[in-house]
């Protein structure tokens, strides 16, 4: 495995025992550290103060509709995969007040909200999540109107990525060209190497900010052997990918199958709960809530995460546009894998597998796409050999 440009740029090594200094240094610069922590039998993202806050030694097992954590004797800091949450909760909070209004005789005034962004250091961002952030960058900042909350917070991040040392059973980032190596969009990228006699992190600086931080903590240049060890880990992870999605002309394939019988079948199983849209790191839909206090002297407008699985989502006078469950499931999958490409120039899916793991009835986007392709009304889209797009020859 080589980096995209063929250049191996991994450069430094930090020892495990010096790793806390990265945290200390970022804290001293004013960053609030956030990253994986154990809560209620799942790994979530929350504030961190020390390396020991990380779920050390934990590994997860994920499958359709199931997630299980186990504690091992291994001292790995990043031995687990993705939890239900993604980083979007920091850039694109689930609930925000947009503004308040204050009534006075007949009229009202609007009081803008001061969305002070925080200096945040995101610790342990996986490659697929870096890609998800890049995708949301286009959604929230790429058009004529930008989301000022997202934009302000986006400028205040320090991103410490972690290349994946193990692929989950629901992962398919290789299919989506999103991992298991961090390609861009990070300040520092780590590969955790745990061998019989050493526990180190290969570090690659992806920005000037990252380089400056790296210079201030104890490190040594990486040797060819260190680099080779890191490469082996990433290559192994790519080989372990739990799932595959054939992305060959996937947009055209799906556009040719709006009326496929599979949509009815999957809709019959789907609970329309919207879990998949909540856990998905790229889903960006919101609705607004207008509320007043009891005396109606003040009102406020909130923006909250929404889901295209609800009837309200497409409601217009006369009824919802997507009234049937089939139409709503189809909207979700079509958007992730097809219309997104027309809208934003890339897939809306990074292959993180969350929607598969957290679906209460175990619906699997890769399986649905495969079923439609294998029985496409248009035979140009029947699968090629095995359907794995990103073979690393």
């Amino acid at each position: 495995m080589r980096a995209k440009n063929g250049k191996v740029s991994t450069r430094a090594v930090i020892d495990r025992q010096d790793f806390q200094q990265l945290f200390d240094h970022l804290s001293a610069q004013g960053y609030q550290l956030v990253g994986p922590r154990l809560r209620d039998n799942a790994i979530v993202y929350d504030e961190l103060s020390a390396v020991t806050d990380l779920p050390i030694g934990y590994v997860d097992e994920q499958e359709k509709g199931s997630y299980r954590l186990t504690k091992t004797a291994q001292p790995t800091l990043f031995g687990y995969g993705l939890g239900p949450q993604s980083w979007k909760k920091y850039l694109f909070p689930p609930v925000v007040r947009l503004w308040q209004a204050q009534r006075h005789n007949g009229g009202f005034d609007v009081i803008p909200e001061d969305h002070e962004p925080r200096l945040l250091a995101l610790i342990g961002v996986r490659p697929c999540e870096l890609k998800a952030i890049a995708i949301q960058d286009r959604v929230f900042m790429g058009g004529a109107y930008a989301d000022p909350i997202y934009q302000a917070q986006r400028e205040q991040l320090f991103i410490v990525a972690v290349n994946c040392g193990k692929a989950g059973a629901t992962c398919f980032c290789t299919s989506m060209d999103a991992g298991p190596r961090a390609a861009s969009g990070y300040d520092l990228a780590l590969t955790e190497i745990l061998e019989a006699n050493r526990h180190i992190f290969l570090v690659d600086a992806g920005s000037e900010k990252g380089e400056a931080v790296l210079r201030t903590i104890p490190q040594r240049p990486a040797t060819d052997l260190d680099i080779a060890a890191g490469e082996r880990i990433i290559a192994q992870t790519a080989e372990q990918m739990g799932r595959v999605l054939d992305t060959n002309r996937i947009k055209e394939m799906l556009y040719a199958n709006y009326e496929h019988a599979r949509w009815d079948q999957v809709a019959a199983r789907c609970l329309m709960c919207g879990n998949c849209t909540q856990v998905c790191p790229t889903c960006f839909c919101t609705t607004v809530e207008d509320v007043t206090d009891l005396s109606a002297a003040t009102a406020e407008r909130r923006r909250v995460w929404d889901t295209c699985f609800s009837l309200d989502f497409s409601y217009i006078v006369g009824g919802s546009v997507r009234a049937s469950p089939k139409a709503r499931y189809r909207q979700w999958m079509m958007h992730k894998l097809a219309t997104w490409i027309d809208q934003f120039g890339s897939s809306g899916c990074v292959g993180c597998g969350r929607c598969i793991t957290w679906c209460p009835v175990g619906i699997d986007i890769t399986e649905e796409a495969r079923a439609i392709r294998s029985d496409s009304e248009d035979k140009r889209f029947t699968p090629a050999t095995g359907g794995r797009k990103h073979e690393h020859a």
């Binding site: 947009l98 503004w99 209004a101 009534r103 007949g106 009229g107 009202f108 005034d109 609007v110 803008p112 959604v139 929230f140 058009g143 004529a144 109107y145 930008a146 989301d147 000022p148 934009q151 709006y258 009326e259 960006f284 839909c285 919101t286 609705t287 607004v288 207008d290 509320v291 007043t292 109606a296 009102a299 407008r301 923006r303 929404d306 295209c308 989502f313 497409s314 409601y315 217009i316 006078v317 006369g318 546009v321 997507r322 009234a323 049937s324 089939k326 139409a327 909207q331 958007h335 097809a338 219309t339 997104w340 027309d342 809208q343």
Partner: protein, 289 residues
């Protein structure tokens, strides 16, 4: 050369939060029909009123109740008043209808695409409206009539439920008498002294006086009406590229950020509401997209 230079220009300065409404004062509320009213609004504190193009819409906020998309129905040539024509159908529209002169409304906009009025000079223009769909088309009428000599034949086909639901009655009469304009109004159900036609607006298309090979059509109404109208227009021989439709979808932001208005890959709030039929035809032939 220019294209290259434009591509290098920096992104427009984003000074204003697109979700923050400007405040407008209700100057006049007038009932056009038993369920539809027009509002005259002026910016509060003498603030500037942004220019708009025919077909664009605003997000209209009623204190504590909610915010909805409403097309601008006034004359784009006038900068002294903002006019919205609204049918009271639910929570927000009813709250709007109960407002008193002097009350405050929040306005964000104008947003969205416009009827291609200036681009279609020299053509025949056929404007087809159903119900409240006449409201977003009225600014296009004003614009065309202001420079009437630049257009070929101009035809307005308008369908309402009953004679009492016919919008802008006085204005229709006035346009008919003052301008070279063919106006055909039809109702679903005749009542009282109605002497005009009865039936669907689509039935008027066959005999309307325009040259299909040189005609641009602008259509707004309920989606079913628009589906049938476009089929009829095609039957008359109008090119799909010359048919424009204004779509309606649920909208929470109006600026391409909330996802609600998606229609296939189209964000109706930013790529629409006015879209070419040729771009949307493949979706209109399907249901529940």
């Amino acid at each position: 050369m220019t294209a290259v230079m434009q591509a290098r220009l920096p992104a427009p300065a984003r000074l204003r939060d697109p979700m923050l409404p400007s405040l407008y004062r209700l100057e006049r509320l007038q009932w056009d029909t038993r369920d539809t009213f027009s509002m005259d609004l002026l910016p509060q504190n003498g603030a500037d009123m942004p220019a708009f193009k025919p077909g664009q819409f605003n997000m209209v906020y009623v204190y504590g109740v909610g915010e909805i998309p409403i097309s601008i129905s006034g004359d784009p040539g006038r900068r002294d008043v903002l006019i919205h024509t609204t049918r009271a159908v639910g929570t927000v529209t009813r709250a709007m209808s109960e407002m008193k002169v002097g009350d405050t409304l929040g306005i964000r906009g104008p947003f969205g695409t416009a009827w291609p009025v200036d681009a279609v000079r020299k053509h025949d223009v056929v404007i087809i409206a159903g119900g409240i769909g006449l409201a977003p088309l009225r600014p296009a009428m004003y614009r065309i009539l202001a420079t009437r000599e630049h257009f070929g034949r101009v035809v307005l086909l308008y369908g309402a439920r009953t004679p009492g639901d016919v919008l802008y009655r006085r204005e229709l009469k006035q346009w008919r008498s003052e301008f070279d304009l063919d106006v055909f109004v039809t109702v679903d159900r005749a009542t009282g002294s109605w002497r005009g036609s009865v039936g669907l607006v689509t039935q008027l298309i066959g005999r309307a006086p325009f040259d299909p090979l040189n005609t641009v059509a602008m259509v707004c109404g309920p989606e079913v009406m628009m589906r049938f109208t476009t089929l009829e227009l095609e039957k008359r021989g109008i090119d799909r590229n010359n048919i424009y439709i204004s779509f309606e979808r649920n909208m929470k932001c109006g600026v391409g950020l909330c996802g609600h208005c998606q229609f296939g890959s189209v964000f109706v709030c930013k790529e629409g509401p006015v879209l070419r039929y040729s771009q949307m035809q493949h979706l209109l032939s399907k249901w529940e997209i």
